[in-house]
Chain length 438, copies 2
């Protein structure tokens, strides 16, 4: 893609509501545009990042045997009345009357609808376990939407639902998802730590929030610093390894504020290990047994033929929020550097468009074609602008690798730079191998 063709409305006008750096950066680099309070359009640059995150989330859900499907955004109020949450949910639920006067709503979550699908589809324990997920837009009518995509009203979420015959089986599904989340955030280049959490309006008795540390986060956390030292790569998708994983995390104190008790913290964590800080919730998993299957009659024939309410859990990842969270975690000292796995482009060719512009541009186009052939996604900056402005701009756009065609380029050697490192002079073959996908 040539930058001059890319629909990327870069701007210096950041509205005063943009208080946090991810919100500011996303507006400045034309990743998003607000259309109403808390409702955004994703422009091509932002869209590319979100799609990459979505795909990693998808692959890691598929890996544990979860099956993808898709529920609609608009739901009937009926099933919410069955579960009893229609009145409880309050004004955050966007309530709608259709032309026939039927009470509808824009789904803020999908426990009811998935239970309805399950109850009319499966009847026997032989079909269990099942994990279903979808990646779909949700709406929560926040009183004060803020922080850009971090707390917006229309947001993109992966939500998964597990169905098991017994508590013991259900815990296995929970552990698989726990493992999937660790892998997912790892691949996104984020250090997200599972913290014991309250179950809130979803209900149930077991819950973890996956949290990345950030001063701008809205979650208060209390943890033993040892939890950040667990080697996340040691676990495998076997029952034994997953049990060890859960034991490892449970044995170290790490909770969100609702679960926090000063005396527990003092008793369980050495003074010098105590961390009190803020974080961003990027995932939340719940086990709630028959909380929804019971009122909604999600029954299954057990081994003996007796009908029992299926045991369920639900598992969310905020896909659109993760774009903002990744910026909060990686935008430092006025330089944004995307993790390789979710960068909008693999590399940018920054071309000086001065006196020798024609020659530089030709060279740039040759390199562009060579890299494209290797299946490398390249942005070519052919905009007529001085190099110092270009560098400032690309410090914000955040593509981690740069090929620089300015005054320095000389013979076969081309200036190559990884953001936050010194540049080096390399030939094209070396650049190709540096950019090769893992």
């Amino acid at each position: 893609m040539y930058l001059s063709k890319l629909f990327i409305p870069i701007t210096k006008d950041v509205p005063s509501e943009a208080k946090i750096k991810s919100h500011q950066l996303m507006i400045r680099t034309g990743m998003i545009k607000q259309s109403s309070a808390g409702i955004y359009s994703w422009l091509p640059l932002g869209f590319k990042v979100m799609k990459k995150i979505e795909q990693i989330v998808r692959e890691e859900q598929n890996l544990i045997g979860a099956q993808e499907m898709l529920m609609p955004t608009i739901q009937s109020s009926e099933i919410w009345k069955e579960s009893g949450r229609y009145d409880d949910y309050g004004e955050e639920m966007l309530r709608i009357k259709d032309r026939q006067g039927r009470e509808m709503l824009y789904g803020p979550t999908n426990e009811e609808l998935i239970t309805d699908i399950f109850r009319s589809s499966l009847k026997s324990y032989k079909s269990l376990p099942q994990i279903l997920y979808h990646i779909q837009w949700k709406f929560r009518d926040e009183m004060r939407p803020r922080f850009g995509v971090m707390r917006c009203r229309e947001f993109f979420m992966k939500d998964a639902y597990s169905f098991d015959l017994s508590d013991a089986e259900a815990k296995k599904s929970y552990n698989k998802m726990f493992y999937s989340y660790i892998r997912t955030f790892n691949r996104l280049g984020l250090k997200a730590i599972p913290m014991a959490a309250d179950t809130g309006p979803i209900g149930g008795d077991l819950s973890h929030e996956f949290i990345i540390l950030a001063e701008t986060g809205e979650s208060q956390i209390f943890a033993d610093k040892q939890i950040f030292e667990i080697d996340l790569n040691q676990y495998e998708l076997t029952e034994q390894s997953l049990n060890k994983m859960r034991r490892d995390f449970s044995s170290i104190y790490a909770v969100t504020d609702e679960k926090f008790k000063e005396e527990d913290f003092a008793k369980n964590v050495k003074k010098e290990n105590q961390i009190r800080t803020k974080g961003i919730e990027v995932g939340h998993i719940f086990y709630f047994g028959d909380k929804y299957s019971k009122p909604l009659n999600g029954l299954i024939d057990s081994h003996g033929g007796k009908k029992v309410a299926v045991k369920m859990g639900s598992y969310g990842i905020g896909v659109s929020r993760l774009v903002g969270a990744a910026i909060e975690a990686n935008y430092k000292n006025d330089v944004m550097k995307w993790p390789k796995s979710i960068s909008p482009f693999d590399v940018v060719i920054i071309t000086s468009m001065g006196k020798n512009s024609n020659e530089n541009l030709k060279k740039a186009e040759k390199i562009y074609k060579e890299l494209k052939k290797q299946n490398i996604d390249v942005l070519l900056d052919d905009v007529d602008e001085n190099m110092s402005n270009k560098f400032k701009k690309h410090d914000l756009i955040g593509i981690p690798y740069q090929v620089i065609l300015g005054s320095k380029s000389d013979g076969d050697k081309i200036e190559f730079k990884e953001l936050n490192f010194e540049s080096e002079m390399l030939n094209l073959e070396s650049i190709k191998s540096k950019l090769k996908k893992d």
Copy 2:
């Protein structure tokens, strides 16, 4: 994927509302489940097909230089008041009040919102041409939703928007999209013919509907049969070839009912070439110039510095509807056969689970692994059910190729069948090469 693990609620209970064969088949094979009138969940089998269609649409949009982005589902009423369509749109528009009492709506289309994004992003003719598209859920509150996903309320649509400086330039964008549509439907295995159409509520003076013939279609069409004989593979993405393409199609009479005039038909089409039939609209493209850019102030600096309203077109493809349309086109004599490009799986291994079940299943699993290694997406039918039921079931599920492990399998030779053809005995290597992706 093992069929016993797949979430696929196959049923014989088809509700009486399901009048057309695509609707019936999608319910019977557990592709979709209705949650409210005209609102469906896409279960894993249906979801896989829809995703494949979406991906082909995406690739063909990218090929002509269109850039993907994503607009939200919920829009403010303000921009619709600016364009004048807020009152015009009637009850099909799902109107919503948020908790602050603001008038919002669920987007039925996006001309207003994209114009708003454009006007605040680009200022100069130098940034043109631009084509932006998104693939997003829309809502139209149909009075009588029917025919399953063919006329539902919440539906998945690709809509693209082009921006040009002049009518002449805009026609080039229109032609590119025309070409993209021909390629798209071709890859989907559908014979979709562009017919001159009325512009309806979108407005403008140039419009084509892409229509596939089907008795259950809701579009009435009148055409010279020669239009079905145009070789769709002859065109290229060059201005000259695209002009020829448009001339070829314009020179043969083919219109929808709103454009139909009996005397024109009689004058232009020989009696024996006259076709009067029904079809399904799968795509619709419009050129409407400054119909939206003028009231919404979508202005651009032209060469001379004068501000002119940007010239726009819009281009829709019904992605969710195409799933139904593909069934209408390919479900014949009680056998559904998916085109290879959008089949939910590449091949199914149908295993007899009778007396020798263990041996058959082992053999099936070995073949399954071998095919998976070749990146072939295999469904293994390990359900405990007799072969005759299995065949009936797979006649509906519609995977075009079958490996049959029943009584006939013998030594190295395995029974292999393409739907609607006789089966043959092949070794595994030959089967692999038959299934190799094009």
